[in-house]
């Protein structure tokens, strides 16, 4: 109860957080990514994952996939704030449409000899990870799937000599014949 005196109303609301995946179609022009990221940092929104690449080069369109966490009100704000940016064409909440596929790719380096090396290879096989580089004492696995599958695989590799991980972040697309 001993909060400082203030000209502002400081009490925060504590609605439960949700995680949403947003697909954002933007004009690929200089600074567009800085605008999007600046919006998130400037307004205190979370970025759990961010993936961006040009997807239709003849139209100069890029697709940004953002995974973000916030209360339902904040998520709604994020979508509106993104949508009103001048170079943004469309914002689609893939989590609300509920008919989307999300994938992430990771490269996982594991170092070890003997039993742990065999175990790593066996688990990689179970997770359908591919070996894309090998030495006598290491593997680099390539694994694709949803984020939780990748996280689970990484956790399993940790005691077996996990060296490092590179993850792409999430890409998402809707099911069925329609585009976004």
């Amino acid at each position: 109860m001993n909060q400082p005196a203030s000209a502002y109303f400081l009490e925060e609301r504590h609605d439960p957080n949700e995680t949403h995946t947003l697909s954002v179609l933007v004009q690929n022009e200089p600074g567009v990514l800085a605008r999007v990221i600046g919006l998130f940092s400037g307004r205190g929104y979370n970025i759990d994952s961010l993936t961006v690449s040009e997807t239709e080069s003849h139209k100069h369109l890029s697709r940004i996939t953002i995974v973000t966490t916030g209360t339902p009100t904040v998520i709604e704000q994020i979508k509106h704030q993104l949508d009103r940016m001048i170079p943004v064409y469309r914002v689609v909440d893939m989590t609300i449409t509920g008919r989307s596929i999300e994938r992430e790719l990771a490269m996982v380096k594991v170092r070890g000899r003997g039993d742990s090396r065999v175990e790593a290879l066996r688990l990689a096989d179970a997770f359908r990870a591919r070996v894309i580089d090998a030495t006598t004492e290491s593997f680099v696995f390539e694994i694709t799937g949803n984020s939780s599958k990748i996280s689970q695989f990484i956790d399993l590799m940790r005691p077996l000599g996990l060296v490092e991980v590179a993850r792409t972040g999430v890409a998402a697309i809707g099911r069925g014949p329609e585009g976004m």
Partner: protein, 591 residues
């Protein structure tokens, strides 16, 4: 190769900029020269369509352009150089973004090959201004310049208006390319602000309004931005429905202060009747306002029993602070027009006599009362006198930020939109003086008064020199209490009366200062001085610094203590030391 030498659309980047200004009907720009904009200044020198107003500091140019825009409904245009010229514009740009003022700011930039080299007067202008503009551009190719300039004007003035920056490197200003006049394809296809409201939502809104027992209309700056027609429609809606109406600071003048349904401003320093009406209403129609924290007080106790209709052109304003039941995205004027049509066709004036009786009781509390004095000038009295003295004149008012701003909003009655220029969102001290310049440039024969405080006015005082140079007879009416009054008020109420650095130990003699600037200095010390001094101020056709010495320790009431709801206002008659302490002691736990 074709010969382009006779093509009238072949010109330098600098010439394109001036040409684009002319094509967009720009008559005045505010600016300050420097190395990276000299080619543009050279073009300005050689023409007479666009008049350039030379300020004394770039911030002054920005606020002047804001005043110009706010008082005319047309975009304000600023021209400044790279580096410090651009960084000095950050405050006015942010101010314009917060208050939705259309500004087009052209900045010079170091030549393209030097960008990123830490060149002299280089800064990352688009990077720095990205979060404080609606959009901004760095133009690297002279052949893109025309398109970008036209798009800049379009973006600044459509949808929710706002500031834009076009950063033009010096080599692009020198380079020759092809200009084209404004055309539709100049605009991002991704930018399509929605103007017309959804018909089904409007129908829902009308149904709520028609069934209301305790309604209120709460309007804001969006109605002013939507143009004079929107204010007319708002007035008609009030007449047709018979509903009480209040407004935000930014919205004053959309509905006339003499209108019989007017409740006064709402919010932290709004009237008791406005806030109680908001608190107790069953249907709230919010038009072009955004449920700002100075308006709502504590959000979880804000107008708890009401259905809320929200008309706004910016979808991100919907449900940002307050959940609303019927959102309508669209231009305030356009939606009000449709809403009126449906209301007139399908509904009739609801009987809300009982509600008006209740409101009359709140009004009777006389929440703007203050103790008059024969010895010292009360600041409220000074503004009432100023208001009386300016009646019958074609008057525009600007303000700085602080107690004087709130008193001006409470005691100066505005009958028309576009007459009231104040920094609402950002709360920029130093806004009012240069804003008055801009207003006076747009309305050379009108009476333009900056209601100022002694602290604020010193932040952009140098612009008096601009006023003298361009013969702009602005009147700077300084309520001089020697304090940063609003800071002091908060320190008294919330920080144990420890007045940390809110007293100006050394103030300039404003009358002598006026003399030094070459304008007119007037002083009033006693209440009896005011009438004569004000008459003189209005009569003199030169810039005036009016030093109005007011009661030093007067505070601004009524007030919603921080962390409290609309129905917990502190009224002046009740604001004894004990009551104030009690109100804020409870509040302290909550703030």
């Amino acid at each position: 190769m074709t010969d382009k030498s006779n093509d009238p659309n072949q010109m330098t980047g600098a010439a394109m900029i001036v040409r684009a200004l002319i094509d967009h009907g720009v008559q005045h720009i505010f600016g300050y020269p420097g190395g990276a904009v000299l080619p543009i200044y050279d073009e300005i020198f050689q023409q007479s369509d666009v008049e350039h107003i030379l300020v004394r500091h770039e911030q002054g140019a920005g606020h002047a352009a804001e005043g110009y825009a706010r008082s005319t409904g047309r975009p304000g245009v600023v021209l400044v150089t790279s580096g410090p010229g651009a960084t000095n514009m950050v405050t006015p740009l942010t101010d314009a973004l917060m208050d939705s003022i259309p500004l087009v700011c052209i900045t010079g930039q170091v030549p393209t090959h030097l960008i990123g080299n830490d060149a002299f007067q280089e800064c990352d202008t688009v990077g720095i201004t990205r979060p404080c503009t609606k959009h901004n551009w760095l133009v690297r190719d002279v052949n893109d310049l025309a398109k970008v300039l036209h798009e800049a004007f379009y973006v600044a003035t459509t949808g929710r208006p706002g500031p834009v920056v076009v950063d033009v490197p010096k080599d692009v200003q020198f380079a020759v390319g092809t200009y084209h006049p404004p055309r539709k394809s100049d605009v991002h296809v991704s930018y399509t602000p929605r103007v017309k409201g959804d018909a089904a939502q409007i129908r829902k809104a009308v149904a709520l309004l028609a069934a209301a027992k305790r309604p209120v209309i709460y309007s804001g700056g969006g109605v002013i931005n939507a143009g004079p027609e929107a204010s007319k429609l708002l007035r008609e809606l009030v007449d047709v429905t018979g509903f009480p109406i209040t407004s935000t600071l930014m919205g004053l003048g959309a509905y006339p202060a003499t209108g019989k349904n007017w409740l006064g401003m709402l919010g932290m320093h709004g009237t008791y009747e406005a806030n109680m009406t908001m608190h107790g209403c069953d249907v709230m129609l919010c038009v072009g306002a955004r449920f700002d924290d100075r308006i709502t007080g504590r959000t979880d106790a804000f107008s708890p029993g009401s259905k809320k209709i929200h008309i706004d052109i910016d979808p991100s304003s919907i449900n940002k602070n307050i959940h609303v039941d019927v959102p309508i995205i669209g231009d305030a004027g356009n939606v009000l027009g449709d809403l009126l049509q449906v209301f007139k066709a399908e509904a009739k004036k609801p009987d809300i006599k009982a509600w008006w009786q209740e409101i009359a009781k709140w009004r009777a509390r006389n929440s703007l009362a203050y103790k008059k004095s024969n010895d010292v000038i009360l600041p409220q009295y000074a503004i009432q006198k100023l208001f009386e003295a300016t009646r019958g004149h074609d008057t525009y008012i600007t303000t700085e930020v602080g107690q004087h701003q709130m008193w001006a909003a409470q005691f100066f009655g505005f009958e028309e939109p576009h007459r009231w220029m104040t920094s609402g969102g950002l709360g920029t001290m130093g806004y009012g003086l240069p804003a008055a310049l801009g207003v006076q440039v747009a309305h050379p024969d009108s009476l333009v008064i900056d209601i100022a405080g002694d602290a604020s006015v010193q932040m952009t005082m140098q612009e008096m020199s601009t006023a003298v140079q361009f013969e702009l007879p602005i009147k700077i009416f300084i309520l001089n209490n020697q304090y940063m009054g609003m800071v002091r008020q908060w320190q008294q109420l919330l920080h144990g009366n420890r007045l940390s650095h809110s007293y100006s130990e050394a103030l300039p003699d404003f009358v002598k200062l006026a003399d030094a600037f070459g304008c007119v200095g007037i002083q009033a010390i006693k209440p009896g001085d005011l009438d004569g001094a004000l008459k003189e101020m209005i009569k003199v056709k030169r810039p005036v610094l009016f030093d109005c010495r007011v009661a030093a320790l007067e505070n601004c009431f009524p007030m919603i203590p921080s962390g409290k709801a609309h129905n917990e206002m502190l009224l002046p008659a009740e604001a004894t030391d004990e009551a104030t302490a009690a109100a804020f002691a409870g509040g302290k736990a909550l703030v």
